[in-house]
């Protein structure tokens, strides 16, 4: 089955169960300023205005915004600062328990007791807490081909925005390929390397972490997938394969799920990930 076919099936499946959530929004006063969120068309007397329209429609990059002297115009400058403020705020948010319940993920924790420890001490986010280790030993789904981990990382928004589409797409993709998959888990304040500890405990062949990327100005919803085949003490960064920029304006979550299941199948066959996997796949091309 090719990727297009998987994507079609998964989209069909998802559209059946999509729930509509209505949030209470405070009414906006009539005389409030509505500051533009879209990039301005700031080039004075452009050679070809249609080309700038096209450019702004095809990339989220801040182009076609013009200048005053060598500086940004006031609107663009304030937009930049607003986006920075939003991104800084996004780092501090937690994934809600309601969300985890809704998608039925067991929540584990790392040794990072609070956000400050998590940000300033990498090791704290790379090891599970004692209670979580005990839980996983007792209840983890052992000896499967694949374990999926969902991690808030540096953006809880990316989890809430993508996981509902990405996780079922990935699970179905793996299922269609007859790849045995352990029950996915959520790890709060987790870094990528925590996957090594999880893999060791539940003895899977390949572990994949779906982890929130640090928020950018353009989006705080971007997510990465890190995969490693049978990690051990000798594993290094170059042994991991990463697919980044999973979000609705980058690699769309449903397509990402299909693409990842395809990759995982090849990795299990090649029995490696990272640079070794890249080399093998280049030779095969």
């Amino acid at each position: 089955m090719d990727i297009q076919e998987i994507v079609r099936k998964v989209v069909e499946e998802l559209s059946k169960e999509k729930k509509v959530i209505k949030e209470y929004v405070e009414p906006i006063k009539e005389d409030s300023i509505r500051f533009p969120e879209k990039q301005i068309k700031g080039v004075k007397e452009p050679h070809n205005a249609a080309s700038i329209d096209r450019a702004q429609s095809i990339t989220p990059a801040r182009i076609g915004i013009g200048r005053t002297g060598t500086r940004m115009q006031t609107t663009s400058y304030l937009q930049f600062l607003i986006d920075h403020a939003a991104a800084q705020d996004a780092v501090l948010k937690d994934v809600s328990d309601e969300f985890l319940q809704k998608i039925e993920l067991k929540k584990l924790e790392t040794k990072a007791k609070d956000m400050k420890t998590y940000l300033m001490d990498l090791d704290s986010g790379r090891k599970l807490s004692d209670e979580s280790v005990a839980w996983l030993k007792e209840n983890g789904d052992k000896d499967k081909d694949v374990q999926i981990i969902v991690c808030d990382g540096l953006s809880s928004s990316s989890i809430e925005a993508n996981i509902e589409d990405l996780l079922p797409a990935l699970m179905q993709g793996l299922q269609l390929k007859n790849i045995s998959t352990a029950k996915p888990i959520f790890i709060k304040r987790g870094r990528v390397w925590v996957q090594d500890e999880v893999a060791a405990i539940i003895n899977c062949n390949l572990v994949i972490s779906l982890i929130g990327e640090r928020p950018g100005l353009n989006t705080d919803e971007s997510l990465s997938a890190y995969m490693i085949y049978r990690p051990d003490e000798k594993s290094v960064e170059a042994d991991r394969t990463v697919i980044s920029n999973i979000h609705k304006e980058g690699l769309a979550p449903v397509e990402a799920g299909a693409h990842l299941s395809e990759l995982i199948e090849q990795m299990l066959r090649a029995e490696c990930t990272g640079i070794s996997f890249a080399r093998k796949s280049n030779i095969n091309l």
Binding site: S51, A61, L81, H84, A90, L119, T219, A238, L251
Partner: protein, 453 residues
């Protein structure tokens, strides 16, 4: 070798050269995380005192990671001029600082001693230097390199056009290239970070940038910032590559985490000389930054700044066209705030130059750091004052693929404007021909991507 001192009536002692170097560093969160930083302000001063009296010979004889076990140490020591080192081995680090800052010491003297200094010595002296010391010393050193264009000429400042797209959409990348060029960014390199690091994806991006350069006769070089082995494979399959990229670290273990070794970089360099499209003799573009080793558990108890210096010692072996320092790219666990970031940028510019490298600076910050645009602009202006060769150029300062902030096309034009600097020679002529620049100033046509229609 003396490893202890008394200041303000208190006795301080240190266990090794490595310990003194770490504790003498200005405060940085990555050194705290690695548990190598000074525990008090006076302990930091005590270590600076001990360091100021330490002989260069003491440092030479006690590399922070042994020669026998680390490839980076070996390359640094094997590339040193023993004759020059022997002339200065009995200087103290304090004397070295005085020598560097003295009126009598100019560019010729500095490039000469550079060849006799190990990276740890260069890190050591910069730990005794203030911001103004670092800027003044950096101004004395300006190194040129040539790929298709000459970078580093006096009075000129270059930029990399960094046209990334979150999904590698070729048309989107092309628009950002056009926008950048219309502001004068792209004379250092048109350098694309691919989201998908496969040979096929790279070949597309090389061809796209190469063809555009050919069509508009743009004097510059193209580069795709993927892993070096993927670039080599693309080159082998005939992709038009002008400049080869790789991130480097200051320990063998760090480089292993990056999936590289001296052997691999040697092979890349040789392939560029044989199959690359550019004139050379400088074919390599390296990126470095304080904190990569500690993030990868590959720091061996050495402070971030010393490891950064060692990265330059490793990098200089391949005579790069560009070395770009990206301290600030990692996050608050290595550089906590704007103050630590600005300090790191100034140290890195100086240390890179004292290694004889054509240095550029990316004064970057991430959104989980306690830093903002003002800090970045200050770091940019100060390092430009110190004579950096180049900066990045990111649309609106916001990299939509890598999710961090860097100098914008606007900032690039502004730095040239405020310091009276021109684009690289050949590129300035191209801008004049395109009607984008007159007498070093942008024309009304500049900043309009649609002029390429």
């Amino acid at each position: 070798m003396k490893l202890s001192c008394v200041i303000k009536g208190t006795h301080y002692s240190f266990s090794s050269v490595r310990d003194v170097l770490a504790k003498a560093s200005e405060p940085k969160s990555g050194d705290v995380m690695a548990q190598v930083a000074a525990e008090s302000s006076l302990e930091r001063m005590a270590s600076k005192v001990v360091l100021s009296e330490m002989l260069l010979k003491d440092i030479f004889e006690n590399p922070v990671i042994p020669y026998e076990t680390d490839e980076v140490t070996r390359l640094i020591y094997d590339d040193i001029s023993e004759t020059i080192y022997k002339d200065i081995q009995n200087w103290t680090v304090g004397e070295l600082r005085n020598y560097i800052l003295s009126y009598e010491t100019g560019p010729d003297q500095l490039i000469k001693i550079s060849r006799g200094l190990t990276s740890e010595m260069i890190a050591a002296v910069s730990k005794l230097m203030s911001s103004m010391d670092l800027v003044l010393a950096s101004q004395k050193m300006k190194y040129q390199a040539h790929c298709n264009t000459t970078i580093g000429e006096p009075g000129r400042l270059a930029f990399r056009c960094q046209p990334n797209h979150p999904n590698d959409v070729p048309e989107g990348i092309l628009y950002s290239i056009k926008e950048g060029l219309s502001y004068g960014a792209g004379d250092a390199v048109i350098g694309i970070n691919p989201n998908v690091d496969t040979v096929e994806s790279l070949k597309r991006l090389y061809t796209l940038s190469h063809d555009f350069m050919e069509k508009w006769k743009i004097p510059t070089q193209n580069c795709v910032l993927a892993h070096i082995t993927t670039q080599m494979e693309a080159l082998k399959q005939g992709a038009p590559v002008a400049l080869m990229f790789q991130s480097l670290a200051g320990t063998q273990k760090g480089n292993e985490a990056f999936g590289i070794s001296k052997g691999i970089v040697d092979e890349g360099y040789e392939m560029m000389a044989r199959y690359g499209t550019s004139t050379g003799p400088n074919y390599m573009y390296f990126e470095t930054g304080q904190g990569s080793e500690v993030s990868l558990n590959a720091a061996h108890g050495v402070d971030m700044q010393t490891l950064e210096a060692r990265t330059y010692g490793y990098a200089r072996h391949w005579k790069p066209f560009m070395v770009n320092n990206v301290s600030g790219f990692i996050g608050p666990e290595t550089l906590f705030d704007g103050r630590q970031l600005i300090r790191a940028d100034l140290e890195d510019l100086f240390m890179g130059k004292l290694h004889g490298l054509p240095m550029g600076i990316a004064p970057t910050y991430t959104n989980h750091m306690d830093a903002n645009q003002n800090d970045q602009e200050i770091a940019g202006m100060l390092t430009a004052l110190g004579g950096a060769n180049f900066y990045m150029g990111v649309p609106g300062g916001d990299d939509v693929m890598l999710n961090y902030q860097d100098t914008s096309y606007h900032d690039d034009a502004s730095l040239r404007e405020m310091f009276g600097l021109r684009p690289l020679r050949e590129f300035e002529k191209w801008m004049e021909n395109m009607g984008l620049m007159e007498d070093g100033k942008l024309t009304s046509r500049a900043g309009d991507l649609s002029i390429f229609d």
